[in-house]
Amino acid sequence: MKIHEYQGKEILKKYDVAVPVGDVAFTIDEAVKAAEKIGGSVLVVKAQIHAGGRGKGGGVKLARSYEEVRECAGEILGMRLVTHQTGPEGRIVRRLLVEQGINIARELYVGITLDRKRARNVLMASTEGGMEIEKVAAETPEKILKEEVDPAVGLQQFQARSLCTRLDLKGDALKNGVKFLTALYKAYIASDASLAEINPLVITQEGHVVALDAKINFDDNALFRHPEYEDLRDVDEEDPMEVEASASNLNYIKLDGNVGCMVNGAGLAMATMDMIKLAGGMPANFLDVGGGASAQTVEAGFKIILKEENIKAILINIFGGIVRCDRVAAGVVEAAKNVDVQVPIIVRLAGTNAEQAAVILQDSGLKFLVAKDLKDAGEKVRKTVISDR
């Protein structure tokens, strides 16, 4: 789960991670009010969207008076912000973060995330603050410093000290850096995060260490332990169709293709998408209907897929292992009757009672294209996509 920068900073603050003084604003007036509350001669107005690269896209502006804050807020609020992470369509900015300006001496990078290979959390740091860490890792891997956390004891002070000295922090900055990293690790663990990334981490002229930006992602598997995160969700940042699908408990991701698909199991769903492409089409979505594939889930799936305008065909691919295919077939027939489907529906059911399932589909009076195996399903997708050209 992703959250906004300002929400991430509120969490960090709770665990004594140093962040600039700031406040969220939904309107221009709120932005000015926030600025007045913060005070100071330099203020920063930052667009809040779930994507990086906001500065380059014109979503972060400096203001030297409350009047300038008003101007900046007016320019950014409502703008379509395009960054390398949003895609060409960009995102509409609906929220702002107004912050005090910081006296920057150095910009660094720190992040905590899971090292899958080692099955442990790893604290990463780099002197290349403000740059994309993936780019640093690819071009100058020696500039990424790491400390692996032993799960038995957690992050130790000496590890934080080691990282800070390797970042060339001295005196107060070293002390503050160790304090910062220790607090950041505490926040990461306590909030069940999957990523806590501070880029840039700023060392001020005075030797303070401050999180200028904050990207916090939560582990979806741990959300049940944090009911309070529901309030942090911003559905404006999600695809409307995905929001609707999640309301019906469907595991759905919208894509841009012309063949919709409904599959049981995530791996088979991905493989089916790949097969659609090999057959000359493009998958319009990822949709895992889960083990059951009942009439209700299939119906909900149809409704979601049919909202996509460019659909030329729908492929249903169910491997009925423990679920019986005849039951799935009955569900598909019922759902197809309830929803007006104008495009060809290719159905491939394999496993228990697959023969009976084929008979149910053939006798339904509805025009299903019944595929005898996965290869045949691919052929049928190919024919449908080609005949439509």
Partner: protein, 324 residues
């Protein structure tokens, strides 16, 4: 021989009295698995016969702790159907009780829990399969997990996969061609899993009954690449590989918690490239996993024959990259 599981395996089911636990215990027993005990805290000392929907073939003794089940029934493997919030504790209980093979079916265990579990299980020298996996089956002998037994056939191809239904698809394709399986292992779709591709492939490589291997990976992480490096160096058995997720968009979690391309890493293209370089025969489409293995085995047999009769040409065996 086979790996991990056989008819002698003595299984304890953790969470036996739950809906899922009951259903799959019945399925496992009917397949021939020796279920020697169940664990449900608070119900120790009773015999469990199943529920209205699923009657077990015979009653199973229930214990309060895994330790009791190990002591009284000599259980040496466990399977976990405990809800995600309590699954980490259940896995560690099993490891502490001395169970050497722990299969965790549960989906949705928090990553922070799994970090501790991984550490603990390694210390106790137990093998954890999963979590978020279909389990392990040695066809014709026993199954520990939720896979449909009837699609399998005893034989000599080892199957290892991060997926559930996609594995069933591959197995069904093999069986339809008369190609049986030695053991099939679903290692799970989470970012932290107890047993990786490389671990299972090492076991298959050492297993005299396994003559060939099917490896089914997907986007996310680098486990496929690590296994490929081992295969290149140490495996002489033919390997067919498939990677799901060529059309998956970067940065999105594709159903499985571990199936995500992050920071340009873990793409299908990269995995396929590394696997091809390691000599693994790649099935281009999920529809041809079975036929690709069939051709590869055919090629191997021909190669053996042609070694005996040196002059005889090997025939049309070159093409093994199949199309739809």
């Amino acid at each position: 021989m086979s790996i991990l599981v056989d008819k002698k395996t003595r299984l304890v089911v953790q969470g036996i009295t739950g809906g899922e636990g009951t259903f799959h215990t019945r399925q496992m027993m009917e397949y021939g698995t020796k279920v020697v005990a169940g664990v449900t805290p608070g119900k120790g000392g009773t015999y469990y016969e199943g529920n209205e929907k699923d009657k077990l073939p015979h009653p199973v003794k229930v214990y309060d702790t895994v330790k009791d089940a190990v002591k009284k029934e000599r259980a040496n493997a466990s399977v976990i159907f405990v809800p995600a919030a309590f699954a980490a504790d259940a896995i560690m209980e099993s490891a502490d009780a001395g169970v050497k093979l722990i299969v965790a079916i549960t989906e949705g265990i928090p990553t922070s829990d799994m970090i501790s579990v991984y550490e603990y299980v390694s210390k106790k020298r137990a093998r954890l399969i999963g979590p978020n996996c279909p389990g392990v089956i040695t066809p014709g002998e026993a199954k520990i997990g939720i896979m449909p037994g009837f699609i399998h056939k005893p034989g000599s191809v080892g199957v290892v996969s991060r997926s559930g239904t996609l594995t069933y698809e591959a197995v069904a394709q093999l069986t339809a061609r008369g190609i049986g399986q030695s053991t099939c292992v679903g290692i799970g779709g989470d970012p932290i899993i107890g047993t990786q591709f490389i671990d299972v492939i090492k076991l298959f490589n050492a297993d005299r009954k396994t003559n060939a291997i099917v490896m089914i990976g997907e986007i996310g992480g680098t486990a496929e690449e690590e296994a490929a490096a081992f295969i290149k160096k140490s495996v002489n058995k033919p390997v067919v590989g498939f990677i799901a997720g060529r059309t998956a968009p970067p940065g999105r979690r594709m159903g499985h918690a571990g199936a995500i391309i992050s920071g340009g890493k873990g793409t299908a293209e990269e995995k396929i490239r590394v696997m091809s370089e390691a000599g693994i025969t790649i099935a281009e489409s999920p529809a041809v996993i079975g036929s690709t293995m069939e051709k590869l085995l055919h090629k191997k047999v021909k190669a053996k024959k042609s070694r005996k009769k040196i002059r005889k040409p090997a025939g049309r065996i070159k093409k093994n990259v199949s199309k739809i």
